[in-house]
């Protein structure tokens, strides 16, 4: 109970610090929202035949949501943790009695808060500006997919921060580890006509699983609650892998000296 309060306080102060750093806050939100506006405007009126003629924006909103989640949970968290380690913040924290789970829980919680804010903003913008048909029947599937995706990418983010030698190298390493896969995961454009081997490879990774799971929950043709079992299983497996990697790779002390 006491530790839960510590985690909650950590989350609250992480959020405070996040919003006080204008550059970080603006870009975390500006990137996905700007992509949403540009791509949806460029493709207004476009329908995707391979997906039963749904509008481009109905396809794109869940994709950009996946992109936003990955930015907040993976990119942002990994870079932030590497900077904290490089600055010696993690070393200082390690010398206090705060339990590891409560400290990291606060960090992860902060990323999850940002993810859910992005959910409201992207879906809101999609509905208001681009007439996305938001389906209430699949909300549960959407939220579960989002929650599992957040857990998965936070775990991977903590793991990859352990691989970054220092804060200067972190943005390059983290972005390089994610961008090629984002493009082949059907986030920015549908890959229904792409070579089969490429989509098969992409399916091995959690980016495709997340995007596909969210698109499934958004797809007007989806019947039921919006749970795509295959994608959820894929994300679950990657959450397990990510957690194990994080346990092995996460470091509190920088390598210099």
């Amino acid at each position: 109970m006491g530790d839960l309060r510590i985690a909650a306080r950590q989350l609250r102060f992480e959020q405070k610090a996040f919003w006080r750093n204008p550059a970080g806050a603006v870009f975390t939100f500006a990137f996905p929202l700007l992509f949403l506006i540009i791509f949806s405007t460029l493709n207004s009126g476009v329908r995707i035949e391979e997906r039963g003629g749904i509008t481009f924006v109905t396809f794109f909103v869940p994709g950009i949501l996946a992109f936003g989640l990955i930015s907040a949970c993976y990119t942002n968290l990994a870079i932030r943790m590497t900077i904290s380690r490089d600055f010696g913040i993690l070393k200082r924290v390690r010398g206090t009695p705060v339990p590891t789970w409560a400290y990291l829980g606060g960090q992860v919680g902060s990323s999850v808060v940002i993810t859910f804010l992005l959910l409201f903003l992207t879906v809101g913008l999609g509905v208001v500006a681009f007439g996305v048909d938001f389906r209430t029947g699949t909300v549960l599937g959407l939220l579960v997919t989002l929650g599992l995706g957040a857990a998965c990418f936070c775990a991977l983010g903590l793991a990859v921060s352990g691989l970054c030698p220092n804060a200067d190298a972190a943005p390059a390493i983290v972005n390089f580890s994610i961008f090629p896969l984002l493009f082949v995961s059907g986030i920015f454009f549908p890959l229904d006509n792409a070579p089969g081997w490429l989509t098969d490879v992409a399916k091995l990774f959690p980016m495709q699983r997340l995007a596909d799971g969210l698109q499934y929950a958004f797809d007007p043709r989806t019947a039921g609650l919006g749970f795509n079992g295959g994608d959820l299983l894929g994300l679950l497996a990657w959450t397990a892998v990510g957690s194990l990697l994080a346990l092995r790779l996460f470091r509190w002390d920088s390598l210099k000296k």
């Binding site: 006491g2 309060r5 510590i6 306080r9 950590q10 102060f13 405070k16 610090a17 996040f18 006080r20 750093n21 904290s84 600055f87 010696g88 913040i89 070393k91 200082r92 390690r94 010398g95 206090t96 009695p97 705060v98 339990p99 002390d253």
Partner: protein, 300 residues
């Protein structure tokens, strides 16, 4: 039971023996000064006591716990002020203190922490905007957030101006008055002299001297006489006192300075010399420290 007990502590990094069998005790309620040149194994030992590093061999107890186990119960009772540790830059001073105090079961109130470290006027300042000295005071405040029984202070006043140093010393004296045990690492001998009840000097991975600053390595049993002799003058026989001549003039070391002084002044009067810059003093802690660490360096 001592607050810290170390017996035959050893630490190797591969083939390099950084710490080669170190023993010492730190008693409850004392300020223990830990001195030594860079690379002598000082940081290694401190970080073993703080639980950041694992020892290779030996026994270490801190407040009755083995720090290598990383127990929460121990970390609740100690405060660590390291060098070069960052703070969340976008939080305000009072917010950082509230956050860290929240990690402890019996924290010291934020207002008290601010008052203790003279940061009251900076409570709503964002950490990023603090000066170097203010940041260091925040480090100190964070180390005291859990109202610890034992505080590790690693070079607490580096980069302070003389006034700020005196203020920091006052804080440390106040902590001692509250009955806290303080493990102080410093490069400033005047700081050790002013604050420490006992000091230990480490060189090349071993403790080479230990004791009260005033008594360290026979400081209290030697007197140094310094002066500049007139050019070409042959010095008189000073008996058992040792005489060395260096760039600063003549240095006479004697257990009892009275006969040597008597001879010297008589000699000067007789020849009509003046003994320029004549001083009679105990060797400073710095003199003793430099001699101790130079010996070890010469032994290789």
């Amino acid at each position: 039971m001592p607050a810290i007990r170390v017996r035959d502590l050893q630490k190797s990094y591969g083939p390099i023996e950084a710490v080669r069998g170190v023993d010492f005790d730190v008693e409850e309620g004392e300020v223990f000064g830990f001195l030594g040149p860079n690379g002598a194994g000082k940081t290694t030992i401190v970080e073993i006591l703080e639980g950041y590093r694992q020892r290779s061999a030996g026994e270490v107890t801190v407040l009755g716990h083995d720090p290598a186990k990383g127990e929460r119960a121990l970390r609740e009772r100690i405060g660590i002020v390291l060098q070069e540790t960052g703070v969340e830059r976008f939080l305000k001073v009072a917010e950082v203190l509230e956050l860290y105090a929240g990690y402890y079961p019996h924290p010291r109130p934020v207002d008290e922490l601010l008052a203790l470290t003279g940061l009251e006027s900076k409570r709503n300042e964002v950490v990023k905007k603090l000066s170097g000295g203010q940041r260091r005071r925040l480090d100190l405040a964070l180390g005291l957030a859990g109202d610890p029984e034992l505080v590790f202070l690693d070079e607490p006043t580096t980069g302070f101006d003389p006034t700020a140093r005196r203020e920091a010393w006052e804080v440390i004296r106040n902590l001692r008055a509250l009955g806290k045990t303080i493990f102080l690492t410093t490069h400033y001998m005047d700081e050790a002299q002013a604050l420490a009840d006992r000091v230990a000097v480490i060189a090349a991975g071993r403790i080479v001297a230990e004791g009260a600053p005033d008594h360290l390595a026979g400081r209290d049993t030697t007197t140094e006489i310094r002066f500049v002799a007139p050019p070409g003058a042959a010095l008189p026989d000073l008996g058992t006192a040792t005489v060395t001549v260096d760039g600063r003039g003549v240095l006479v070391r004697a257990g009892d300075p009275t006969p040597a002084l008597h001879t010297l002044t008589g000699w000067a009067m007789e020849h009509g010399f003046t003994l320029d810059g004549l001083t009679v003093a105990r060797p400073s802690l710095e003199d003793v420290y430099l001699a101790l660490t130079a010996e070890v360096a010469a032994d290789g």
